[in-house]
Each structure stands twice: as C-alpha cells, then as structure tokens.
Subunit: 307 residues, 2 copies
C-alpha cells in the first residue's frame, strides 16, 4: 500500500500586535505524520508519542480533518494514520494545527493533489474546531503555506504570504497549563478606540518592517497593548523573560498564541541562543519545568518527506 | 530680501481602515506659500485667497507653526508670509496641514535647512493644534515626507515611508460643513475587540498590498468597519458614491480625513476619470455643490519652487 510521510511544523501565531491575523511557520519542533492507503474503508489513527491523545478518529484532530478531506473527495478510500507528535499539546505553538494540517497535506499528496492550499486549510480548520471550539487559521495557514502569513479575512480564507528578512526565533515553553478557551474568555469584549488605533499602527509597522527587512522597525512594532496585558498575568515570569530577552539583544516578542509559550525574535543566531539562556534562567529560578527552542522561520509549510 | 516659494500639497489621511495612522500626499490641489526675510522682527501674514482666514499670526495656522520654528531657531529674524490657498479650508484633504507644513518647510529652506523633517513636522503640529485641537500627524507627515506614510507612533514621531504602485486618486468635495472636532466627538470611545481585529487585518492587508503592488489586495483591504459606519451618515450620498465608484472600476475608497470629501483609488487614469463622473452625478442629483479632482500620489512633499 502506498504511503506518505510529512513533517508538520510548529507555528507562532499572533506575533504580539497581530492578534488573530498573523502566523509564522517554524523549522522546529515538528510532528511526523505517515498516512497509508488502506483496503479497509474508514480512518485508523495510531500515536507513537506519549501524550495520551485519543486515537478515536472522531475525537482526534487529525481524524476530524482527514474525514473532512475524505468527504470532499467523495470517496470510500480508507486510511491508516501514524502520528508522532513532537510538538507538545497545549504548548501554544500550534500543536493541534500541526496535527490537522499535516494529515490533510499528506492525504492530498497520497491522492495526487486533488485540492489546493485553501481547500486543505478549510479541511484542517474543521479539525481545529475540535481543539479550540472556533474556526481559526492563524496557526493553520502558516503551517500549510509556510513562512509568514497574514489572515486578512477568515471566512473567505484570504491568506496573504508576507516576505521577511532572516530571523531567529527563541521559544520557551514553561510547563504550565493554559486552556485556549480560558485565554479567550478573559479577553475584553470591548476595547478603547485609542488603544485599537495604537494596535493597528503597530500592526502596520510590523508588516512594513517585515516586508522592508527593517529589523529596528520590527522590534519597535512588536508591541501588544490589548491582549498581552491580560494574558501575560497567566504566565509567571513573563515580565522578567521579556525584559531579560530584550537586554540580551532580542528585537522583541511576547506570548506565542494563547500561551503559555513565550517567543522572542532575534536578528542573529547567537543572540537567539543568548535569549534562550536568559529564558531558562528565569524558569530555573521560578522552579517551573520548561523547554526552550532556538529555531528559525520555515520557508515551507508541511513538507513531504517520502512517498 | 531673500524669499522662498513652495507648493504645499493636499493630503489624504486615514485611507479607510488606516484611521489616524496613514496619510498620502496628492499632486493636486496645493497651496502656494512665499516666505521672505524681513528687516522687521515678528511675523506678518497676507492671504491672496478669498477664504477669510485670520491674518493675525497668533490665530493663523501658518503663523503658529512659523512661530514654533522661530522659537526653536532662537532668532529674532522677522518674516513676511504670503499664502495663496487653493485647498479649501474644511474640505477634509489637509488644508490646515498644507498651511502649517508649507510655511515651516519654506522657512527652513530660507534659513539654510537647520532642521530635519521630524523637527519641521513637530513645528507644523503646533500649528495644526489650532485647527483640530490635538497633535495629529496623519496629514502633516505625508505633506512633509511626500508619498504614502505610516505614523506608527505620534509622540515619538515614528514616521515610516511606505512604497506603493502607481495609483490615481479621485476626490469629490461636497460643499457641506463637517467640523473635525464634531467628527471626532461622534466616534465611539469603546469598540468591540472583534471589529478591531477586523480593522487591523485590513490595515495589515492594505500595507502589504501597497508594498507588494497588489491592486486587488489594496481594494479588498480598503474597508473601515469602525469609523466609516458612523461618519458616513454625516455625508449625503455616501453609499451611492461608493457603490457607483466601485461599479465604475475604482479599487476602493471612503471618507477623506474626517470628511466631507470622499476619495477613491484607481489603477488607471481613465478609471479615476470615470469615477469623477459618477461622483459628480450623485451630487448633481442631490443638488449639493461639489468639486472633483482627479490626481495622483505626490512622490515629494512640500516642494520648493524658487528661492
């Protein structure tokens, strides 16, 4: 039976001021997903990792996304899926998005690419609903498209790839739990117009900075005056991580997705590594288990390894 | 006595979703301002136009801006200023900004350019306070810098020039009065977070569209879900102008500044001219006097004509 294996990358969503609209694919970490044609109809999922995720396809993000793919295909083809998650669920770096996007890109490859990226994105969003309760694309779109993307409009899936200069990304994942749904609940329903103008000025600066390759402008624009003040309170050590990372030479950063992971962007690898040391120091002192990553932006999204 | 004459351009601020942060210099209309050294200290202002603006330098926007320039210079130099306004006050295309920016750029030229653009912008903002009651730069910055600019941060005057593809601008100025202060008063103090996210997605799309030269993306992003729904009610014919302009081939548009002028961007000159015909038709039928302009983006800001 034919099979396809893909690497499905972690992703950074929001990027401070770009709440709900910007996302970036990362070189590491990534999940490995293998999908095989089966003589038997239906979906069977097996996890090689130890995260205890449900293997019932109706309760598994990959399963729901793949079912959506199969429905659109209008086929009775059955699939066996083997998932080796390396992106810890609940880390805030797009673990569920990697599951949903990876499996549909792999299935598409296996079936001779009947669907385009936006169709795959839509199937994957059906899977993501299981994780977050809503159709969001800010992790899925970069996971599928790669690089840095703007989700200008979610209902119409208006996805705009944005160019950017070489950037290194440091991520720290303190091993605490923040439910995406709770992180969304605590957001204000209404915000002052004045702050909103502030935020969209920074969004404009961030997009311009990325596209012009202006590192200083990227740094000045990586500010979030609306969501970060609320969510950062859920993450012990947040202020210290930020302050020490900037002092170590990071351009800027904040909460990755809805947390608890924090990210910092740097112009050079050695700075990103220094930032990782500072981040580690903070959580060592706080006696909170953590994991750090020093990585870079992945130009491609889900990558087919072999067929 | 030496003198300098400048052309000071009209400007388009806000650009729909870019409320308070984006502005664009226009080729037409423009004011003509001549400044001459005087043996007598103090400022004397004379208007060649028929708009009845105060010539007392303390009550005149050019006068206040120039006084701020003189104060920073720490000189006793006196100046004679002759202003020929062609941008009608209260039109919403940066008439007061042209007065304030033009005079300080001219004075700077006359004195051997002691100040940089941001210093000049700051002097001009002192003048603008007289018109709008607050320090805004969204008309002044494009007036001085030219082209399309982002005002990322007003207090620190973080002005970011943005590249853009060739664009034609159609403006209609219906001769009704909307006070800037009133247009500001009626804005909501608080807005739904959901709408704000919508707005900053469009701001990001607009900046990306300009910088990528993607006309379709510019068009899709020229949406304002926050300010336009409120302010458009003050402008008779607004919905019809918008609908007919789009049908005639405009990329998009909306209220210029705080109105009452409306603007539309088009990819080609003949489309911009068709848009002007449609706009004229609306105000003809409404029996409201109006003036239309078909122009383009001015690459340079205030321009020194001769010294």
């Amino acid at each position: 039976m034919r099979s396809v294996t893909v690497k499905s990358p972690a992703t950074l969503s929001n990027l401070c001021c770009g709440f709900d609209i910007l996302g970036m694919a990362l070189e590491a970490p990534y999940d490995l997903i293998t999908i095989s044609e089966s003589a038997q109809s239906g979906i069977r999922i097996r996890h090689l990792d130890a995260y205890g995720l449900p293997e019932d396809p109706l309760l598994n993000i990959s399963g729901v996304a793949l079912q959506s793919f199969i429905n659109a295909l209008g086929s009775q083809q059955g699939f066996d899926v083997v998932v080796e998650k390396k992106i810890k669920p609940g880390s805030g770096i797009g673990s569920s998005a990697a599951s949903a996007a990876g499996v549909v890109v792999a299935a598409n490859e296996l079936m001779g690419r009947p669907f385009n990226n936006n169709q795959l994105l839509s199937f994957a969003m059906d899977g993501e609903v299981l994780a977050s309760g809503s159709r969001h694309a800010d992790n899925l779109a970069p996971c599928i498209y790669g690089g840095l993307v703007l989700i200008r409009d979610t209902p119409s899936l208006d996805i705009i790839p944005l160019s950017l200069p070489p950037l290194y990304v440091t991520i720290v994942h303190p091993q605490i739990e923040i439910k995406t749904s709770y992180a969304r609940e605590i957001l204000p329903k209404e915000i002052p117009l004045k702050l909103a103008v502030n935020q969209w000025a920074n969004v404009a600066g961030l997009v311009a900075g990325f596209q012009q390759g202006d590192y200083e402008l990227i740094g000045r624009s990586l500010e979030d005056v609306i969501v970060e003040p609320v969510r950062s309170k859920l993450i012990p050590g947040f202020d210290e991580v930020k302050q020490k990372s900037l002092a170590a030479g990071a351009l800027g950063g904040g909460i990755s997705g809805s947390g608890p992971s924090l990210f910092m962007l740097s112009k050079e690898k050695n700075l990103a590594e220094k930032v990782a040391v500072e981040m580690s120091g903070v959580f060592e002192r706080l006696n909170i288990e953590y994991k750090t990553y020093v990585t870079t932006v992945a130009a491609h999204g889900v990558e087919v390894l072999h067929t």
